[in-house]
Symmetry: C2
Subunit: 255 residues, 2 copies
């Protein structure tokens, strides 16, 4: 729910770089302004290096060199390389989250299947266009690095879009409920919590299928991007489209 507040702030004001900075900094003094600008410049350069060569090649010293600082100066802005990486991860989550939300908004008047297809297409397009950032957030986490609390809210933006799709589809009757599957008490209560938080009115059967197809989206994109379909599938666009349509079939239980 906090994510909606953040999103609203991002859309309301146009801070430029403040999208990732949850604390509102008025930037009164010149020093504060310079700090914000430099922090942003470091992130821009780092994001470029990340996009070009991947997360392992992201070197704090190289970033410093390009920004025109000495390496130790960068530590005034980011306590460690991992913190810089965390900032980029949050930005990536926010970027794909905003894209997914926009896609859902664009297709709101369409039926559930078309909205689903559109969100999937936009999601995959972003992944292809930002391969290293995608790998950073949806591939294996960079080793020895534990995702800090600050990432969980931006990370939930895309899943929230999917959950809203489920809720709307159930509301409109497009998504058939089906028989409630057998599950453990714990999973049942997990689903109940999820329903309370972000999927009001969505029964367990649909939540289960929704998580199935969401996992399938990530799995299919990972298969494609990480080379597991090499020499097997040649028309990646057509394949993804086909598979997402199958996923929609399963989600609606219309087959």
């Amino acid at each position: 729910m906090l994510s909606f507040v953040v999103a609203a702030l991002d859309l309301g004001h146009t801070f430029g770089m403040a999208a990732t900075n949850p604390t509102i900094t008025p930037a009164r003094t010149a020093r504060d302004r310079a700090r914000i600008e430099l922090t942003d410049e470091i992130k821009v350069v780092a994001r470029r290096q990340l996009a070009e060569q991947g997360s392992a090649a992201l070197s704090l010293r190289a970033v410093a060199r390009e920004v025109g600082m000495v390496s130790s100066a960068v530590y005034r802005y980011f306590p460690s390389r991992d913190d810089l990486l965390t900032a980029l991860i949050i930005d990536a989550y926010d970027a794909i989250g905003a894209r997914a939300e926009a896609a859902e908004r664009e297709a709101r008047q369409l039926g559930t299947v078309d909205r689903w297809m559109h969100v999937c297409d936009v999601f995959r397009s972003w992944a292809l266009a930002n391969a290293h950032e995608y790998a950073l957030i949806y591939g294996s986490p960079v080793p020895g690095y534990a995702a800090p609390e600050a990432t969980i809210v931006p990370a939930s933006r895309v899943p929230l879009v999917v959950l809203r799709l489920l809720a709307d589809g159930v509301d409109s009757g497009e998504i058939a409920t089906g028989t409630t599957p057998a599950m453990s008490r714990t999973v049942r209560s997990d689903f109940a919590q999820l329903r309370r938080d972000a999927a009001v009115g969505v029964p367990d059967a649909v939540l289960s299928r929704g998580l199935c197809v969401w996992a399938q989206v990530l799995g299919t994109i990972n298969l494609e991007m990480f080379g597991h379909l090499h020499n097997v599938i040649h028309d990646y666009d057509g394949f993804f489209s086909l598979q997402m349509r199958r996923a929609a079939d399963f989600l609606l239980l219309g087959e």
Copy 2:
């Protein structure tokens, strides 16, 4: 098909370490023997470091130190750190591949659903028990590192198990065919090739659904292992089991 040859060799002879070495080396001289032994020892130590701290922390110098060599000596056995990593990747693919094949063999007399559930369980168990190795092969590839040709055969062992499951399920009539989905000419020919190679008699509709559920397996495990279900799902075992059963429903089209 080559993979079957390799697998047969691995099972027939008990070379110990030769699983990843496609060229058959008789180890005639003492020097050859020592080379093979040292190569293996380096891999064992490296695999331990990988398991303990992840791929990024895998240091050639640290491995050398533990083996009791100087770092430059290791380069006699592996031309680069990436080559050592490649050897570990191949080993990981072979390990999970062998486990999946064994699981499929164990459950051969059972029905398609039970075989599917068993293979999924074994696969996930291996992933949990070997998190860093799993991340190495099914997470994002280590950045700047392109999977060499030598990995594709061991990498195909698990997918081949899944494809065999599909073929058997179609044969036995447990897997309903369903209507052939619309797809591009390229995807159709990709599927035809796949059918010729490793899924004789499996129609396009089933291949499509099979790739759906396979992507779902990887997606679900990735969601769990990479922290995307943190604070959402608490009973991971129960959740996975539930989701795999839903996947089986979809695969059979029995709902």
